[in-house]
């Protein structure tokens, strides 16, 4: 077996409005060049699962970075910081877009990366990954894992998330992979249908896979929503999609 190794560490990058935010990155050892993956963490925060997922992409040959969308909320235990973010109504869409563009540009500027970048997010991060992909031309692929509130109800227009991401579908700039559970409520199968119809209407390149026997968050092995069969298949689809569009 060939020698294997990776480096994983926290870094500081320039986020929205060039404000410094923290990020966690992992990459294989060696000069590369490696294609890149930017991970957008979920509502429960910049958590251990996202550290693990970042290292998983490095294990598969990518330079991966997960930026801390809650950096400005405060420092401390990830659960406590996420609770404070929730009490503040989450983070503003415009800020998420700026922070994610910062992470993309940071990883692109490294000497060990190619010019190919993919973005992936789950839960609220799935929504934000799609939203970002509709506001940039800097990436080559995007993956939405069960992102809720891509479709927002008419009475769901909070100040920080004023426009439903589905309304920006016409601006989607790269191929999209979406994985969803048919027992999910957010997004519901009907909302996934609405999103798919919008993608078709605008002639966008996308793949949606919908799993029976799964609801929300079926990759999370530490939660009761975990579904091993659907998660295994889903991870295979994630890696196949990024290999197709990013190489690696």
């Amino acid at each position: 077996m060939a020698y294997e190794g990776m480096i994983a560490e926290s870094v500081t990058i320039n986020g929205h409005n060039n404000e410094p935010i923290t990020a966690y990155m992992a990459r294989p050892l060696g000069p590369g060049p490696f294609p890149s993956v930017v991970l957008i963490h979920h509502l429960p925060g910049w958590s251990e699962w996202y550290r693990e997922a970042t290292r998983r992409f490095a294990h598969h040959g990518y330079a991966a970075i997960s930026h801390n969308l809650y950096h400005r909320v405060g420092q401390g235990n990830a659960d406590d910081v996420a609770a404070k973010a929730r009490a503040e109504g989450g983070v503003a869409d415009a800020q998420v877009i700026g922070d994610t563009e910062g992470a993309v540009q940071w990883i692109k500027a490294q000497s060990y990366t190619t010019d190919k970048v993919g973005v992936i997010g789950s839960c609220s991060g799935g929504r934000q990954a799609f939203l970002y992909a509709c506001h940039t031309k800097s990436i080559d692929a995007v993956i939405d894992l069960w992102g809720g509130r891509v479709v927002q109800e008419a009475d769901d227009r909070p100040e920080k998330q004023p426009v439903p991401p589905i309304d920006f579908t016409k601006n989607l700039s790269c191929p999209l992979l979406g994985l969803f559970g048919n027992e999910d409520r957010a997004p519901s199968p009907e909302q996934v249908d609405m999103h798919e119809a919008e993608l078709k209407k605008h002639g966008k390149s996308y793949e949606f896979h919908r799993y029976d026997g799964a609801g929300h968050g079926f990759f999370y092995y530490h939660r009761p929503m975990y579904r091993v069969e659907q998660a295994q298949d889903g991870w295979e689809k994630v890696f196949a999609f990024f290999k197709k569009h990013l190489g690696g």
Binding site: H42, L43, P44, G45, V73, G74, Q75, G76, N77, D79, D80, V81, A82, A83, K84, R86, A87, G89, G90, C123, S124, G148, R149, D156, P158, A186, G215, H216, G217, R223, P224, M225
Partner: protein, 94 residues
């Protein structure tokens, strides 16, 4: 957030967090993904003092049924407390 269900009220009192007791400024009630309870969604109660940072938090995550039972218990206890505070004695149960 996946549900956007969050209610926040001013709260006066004290909570015990990971670093000991702290002065509570707000109570946050939400229904969304919990951090620890083995549920897809949970009623979360966070007693916090945001001026002291994210760590000033006493948290519980409950099932919807548990939250309903808690609400009923709070109402009973508050009614009894208000009766007590009114200066009257409660009738002795038969």
């Amino acid at each position: 957030m996946c549900t956007s269900i969050v209610e926040i009220v001013d709260a006066e009192g004290a909570g015990k967090g990971s670093d000991g007791w702290f002065k509570v400024s707000h109570a946050v009630v939400s229904y969304d993904h919990p951090h620890h309870a083995l549920l897809e969604d949970a009623i979360s109660l966070d007693f916090v003092n945001h001026a002291q940072g994210p760590g000033a938090r006493a948290a519980v995550e409950l099932t919807l049924d548990s939250a309903k039972a808690l609400k009923a218990a709070l109402e009973r206890a508050i009614a009894a407390a208000e009766y007590e505070e009114s200066g009257r004695r409660r009738p002795i149960a038969a």
